[in-house]
């Protein structure tokens, strides 16, 4: 595991150094990325121009959800975002080239074109999270304070796993990348909002089937001191890291299975 991280950092560093030769382009791309990500934030602000509460949640509370989901997604995207290119690699035959090397193809694809531009997403989301934390109306007990990093860690893990899953899906359907976007980018969009606005059925599905509820919703209920509409036990508020671990195991299995299948049938 340590070795994997080490290789990851070495490869990412090499790509970054290469991108750094064009600082103006890098800066511009970073800004573009930040602005694009801010559009969702703008949408929320516009909506709150018309109402003090959305689905029963105040603006700072929604900001908190937006920020926490946003940071989780941004970090996952930075670390593993490019993995979704797997389909292109299979189509162009370049996956074979990656398999020639003594490094996991997952790490190679994940570090491809590693670029400070990727950090652009963190700018609006991170800023909003910090602001929201200062503005939400709650009593900050020590356990509530600790729940925040727990939430972020879990959220990052869950989105990393979802990205790998959506990539592994492309082993089965090579041109299916856009379908995978529904869980990665769809999930990113969804978790910006209080999940209760999508109804009880959806909330149940997002807890038990596609566990996006654990990205920020469950821990947020605890931090904001709100009751759980589904009435699940308290332990669920802190289950994010565990869910992330389980989902990651599923994702790893999916990836390995897909790769094994690819290696037995060729391109």
């Amino acid at each position: 595991m340590v070795e994997t991280v080490r290789i990851y950092l070495l490869l990412a560093g090499t790509w970054m150094r290469s991108a750094a030769q064009y600082p103006a382009s890098m800066a511009m791309l970073l800004v573009t990325q930040a602005v694009t990500t801010s559009l969702d934030l703008l949408a929320i602000l516009i909506m709150f121009a018309h109402t003090p509460r959305l689905g029963g949640f105040s603006l700072p509370e929604v900001m908190f959800l937006y920020g926490s989901a946003g940071v989780a997604v941004s970090v996952a995207d930075i670390v593993l975002g490019t993995v979704e290119r797997l389909g292109e690699h299979i189509r162009q035959g370049t996956l074979d080239t990656l398999l020639l090397r003594p490094v996991s193809p997952l790490v190679q694809i994940a570090t491809e074109d590693f670029n400070p531009r990727r950090m652009g997403k963190l700018v609006p989301t991170g800023t909003v999270l910090v602001l929201a934390l200062t503005r939400i109306d709650t009593t900050w007990t020590p356990s509530r304070v600790l729940t925040v990093p727990l939430m972020l860690a879990g959220g990052i893990g869950i989105f990393c796993a979802l990205w790998v899953l959506s990539a592994a899906w492309q082993f089965a359907v090579v041109d299916g990348k856009q379908a995978g976007n529904s869980i990665t980018y769809g999930g990113a969009y969804l978790t910006q909002y209080p999940l209760s606005v999508f109804g009880r059925e959806a909330l149940r599905g997002l807890t038990w089937v596609l566990p996006l509820a654990f990205v920020n919703w469950e821990p947020a209920l605890y931090v904001l001191g709100r009751p759980d509409p589904l009435g699940l036990p308290l332990v669920f508020r802190f289950a994010s890291p565990l869910v992330a671990v389980v989902l990651s195991a599923v994702a790893a299995l999916a990836w390995r299975t897909g790769l094994r299948h690819y290696r037995s049938t060729g391109s």
Binding site: T32, Q33, T36, A43, I46, M47, H50, S182, Y193, V197
Partner: protein, 261 residues
């Protein structure tokens, strides 16, 4: 004229070979339709007749605009034309007996045709399975079709201009980024334009991006029955943008000749 019809048909066929990718994308468009519908329902719960829409209008808007994303290319910053300019193949195109802009417009119409069939229908169908949507009367459908066609022309006009920019700017990623962001925001995809507060809303309704999906949606929902005004707005922008495109093409052609291709 027949040449352009052929180009459009050829483009339609070309894009229709990417069936799996189109279905994949349509699936995700539908999912996003559901998510956006959920959010708008919450908003309309607090403000039941916001912007003159009711909840059913808002939900229909979500799925309809998702359906229109690809036909009207909200996310497409530029045309494949950019690549040809970058490689220099454009010199060949400019020597062809067909009008460059006309060529690409015909190509885009073919592409859009297939997109309407594949990605334009599924989100609406998917949405209608769960929600009750607002459907237009037969006359409404005809009016809607007209609005979509004009929207496509406006969209083409915008993308054509962005494509040509690469003639002058070698690094066009900045322009593409800006184009993408303005398109997403001012088309009403992120939030319906009718929700834009005060002056922001007024300005947004004057910009060309309003013609892309907001106006066709308003026609579909029966919110805008003053078709003459709607079509005039769309056509006006279409003409202006396409004319600007022709001017730019002439300038580009001159520049190409001067620089020796």
């Amino acid at each position: 004229m027949r040449l352009y019809a052929w180009i459009a048909a050829y483009a339609f066929r070309r894009y229709s070979t990417y069936r799996v990718a189109a279905l994949s994308a349509a699936f995700t468009n539908t999912i996003f339709g559901f998510i956006r519908a959920g959010v708008l329902i919450a908003l309309w719960h607090s403000r039941p007749s916001l912007g003159g829409y009711d909840v059913t209008d808002a939900v229909t808007f979500s799925f309809l605009t998702q359906a229109l994303i690809e036909p009207v290319r909200i996310f497409g910053g530029s045309l494949d034309l950019t690549e040809r300019i970058r490689t220099g193949d454009i010199a060949i195109d400019l020597h062809r007996p067909a009008d460059l802009q006309g060529w690409w417009l015909a190509d885009d119409i073919g592409r859009s045709g297939f997109a309407l069939l594949s990605r334009g229908t599924i989100p609406l169908l998917g949405g209608s399975l769960v929600f009750s949507l607002r459907w237009p009367a037969p006359a409404g459908w005809a009016a809607f079709a007209g609005a979509v066609l004009l929207a496509l022309l406006v969209s083409f006009g915008l993308r054509y201009l962005v494509s040509l920019v690469v003639f002058w700017l070698h690094d066009d990623r900045g322009i593409h980024g800006i184009s993408l962001v303005t398109s997403m925001f001012f088309s009403g995809l992120i939030v319906p334009l009718v929700v834009f507060p005060g002056r922001l809303g007024t300005v947004a309704h004057l910009l060309p991006w309003a013609a892309l999906i907001q106006l066709p949606a308003d026609v579909f929902l029966g919110k805008r029955t003053d078709l003459l005004h709607v079509y005039a707005f769309q056509a006006g922008w279409a003409v202006a943008l396409i004319a600007a495109g022709r001017l730019l093409t002439m300038t580009a052609r001159r520049r190409l000749v001067v620089n020796g291709g």
